[in-house]
């Protein structure tokens, strides 16, 4: 004889599914079709199908807007170079450039892609990210290089204007340096206001 008592497995998913199903059914019962819907006690399976669709759609809606935080620093204003040490940082000029920007890890095809300069974004001696800088390799950019089928070349219609500030540090005790210390704080400056992609 099998002396073991029958095991009753109640998985969390089953519980949630059951509760959600009841909630859904309760919701349906409140509407004008209450009597019609509620008469189908045997049709819980169909309710479950609807519930599964709801669950699937909810899952989709939560994953669609994911953004990679790593790319956020690409549009962080870039002090270049940013020296280490004390003293007053003296702003020497402000320059703007068009650049390829991808806020969702998909580089836009109509940006200038040649040449591309990828550099560490160094702030206070720490590498806090990577930025890219892109120029067209001709004074008269072509649509292929810098435009899209629906927009003229970037000279007339810039894709993006970014700002770089050129600083000069003056300090008798801390000479100009661009040495980045190990231990990247790559995401330290991330300004994502959306959940980070898992």
């Amino acid at each position: 004889m099998n002396s073991r008592a029958p095991r009753v497995l109640i998985s969390p998913y089953s519980t949630v599914r059951m509760l959600t199903s009841e909630l859904l059914r309760e919701h349906l019962c409140r509407n004008v079709f209450c009597s019609l819907v509620c008469s189908y006690e045997g049709e819980k399976e169909n309710l479950m199908k609807v519930h599964r669709i709801f669950t699937m759609l909810a899952a989709v809606s939560m994953t669609v807007p994911a953004l990679a935080c790593d790319t956020c620093v690409l549009w962080t204003q870039t002090p270049f170079p940013f020296p280490v040490g004390g003293g007053k940082y003296i702003k020497r000029s402000i320059a703007y450039w068009n650049r390829c920007v991808d806020f969702d890890n998909v580089p836009p095809g109509h940006c200038c892609i040649v040449p591309v300069v990828n550099s560490n974004y160094v702030k206070n001696g720490q590498v806090v990210g990577v930025y890219s800088r892109s120029f067209c390799n001709s004074s008269t950019p072509t649509d292929v290089e810098c435009g899209s089928p629906t927009s003229p070349p970037y000279m007339a219609n810039p894709v993006h204007i970014d700002q770089g500030i050129y600083w000069q540090n003056y300090s008798p005790v801390s000479p100009f340096s661009l040495v980045a210390r190990p231990g990247s704080k790559k995401k330290a400056d991330c300004k994502c206001d959306v959940p980070e992609k898992k």
């Binding site: 819907v37 049709e43 450039w97």
Partner: protein
Amino acid sequence: MKTRLGTTRQGKVYIAVSLVLLGGSLYSVGAHAKHKRDAPIYTLGSGVADPNQAGNIDQAVTQTQQLLSALQSVNYDPVQLPDYNLMTLPDAQFAESEDDRQSDVSSYVFPDATMPEQSAIACYTDIYARTNRSYYTGDTSTAAPSGYFIVAWKNGTVQKVPVADVRRMTKADGTGIDCFPGMTGYDPALPHWRQ
């Protein structure tokens, strides 16, 4: 007795209700996704008061005049200034750029030999200029510039220049620089500042 779906009139009504609910949920999910896509990821300077409202630009003009006088006495070399405090504006706390809000940076740009286009300028500040740029998923951004630049010319003039009058001059290497009325090469037909 168990009733099979679709075999009765009530069953058909049930299916219709389910389809309506499904359509509604699909619409709401689509609207949610569109809202997420259309909403800006980030707006520069968001959460920081506009210095043109919260600050004192008249004080900044006065300070710029004092700074210009000091620069004239050191041959426009900011490193030689006796008082570094002059190169930091109190309203830098309202700057759109996070870097400009730091206490150890100058609020002014001091063009050097690398910027011969701006050789007539002793210094200028963009603390009161705002791009109000918003970034969106993909590769889209929009700007709504507002505010002023304060420009100190080596001829002794200090000007408050609206951003609408500022242009972007593109250099041979592809970079753009701020171009103010009166600067060599200024052309109203040039692209507007940061637009």
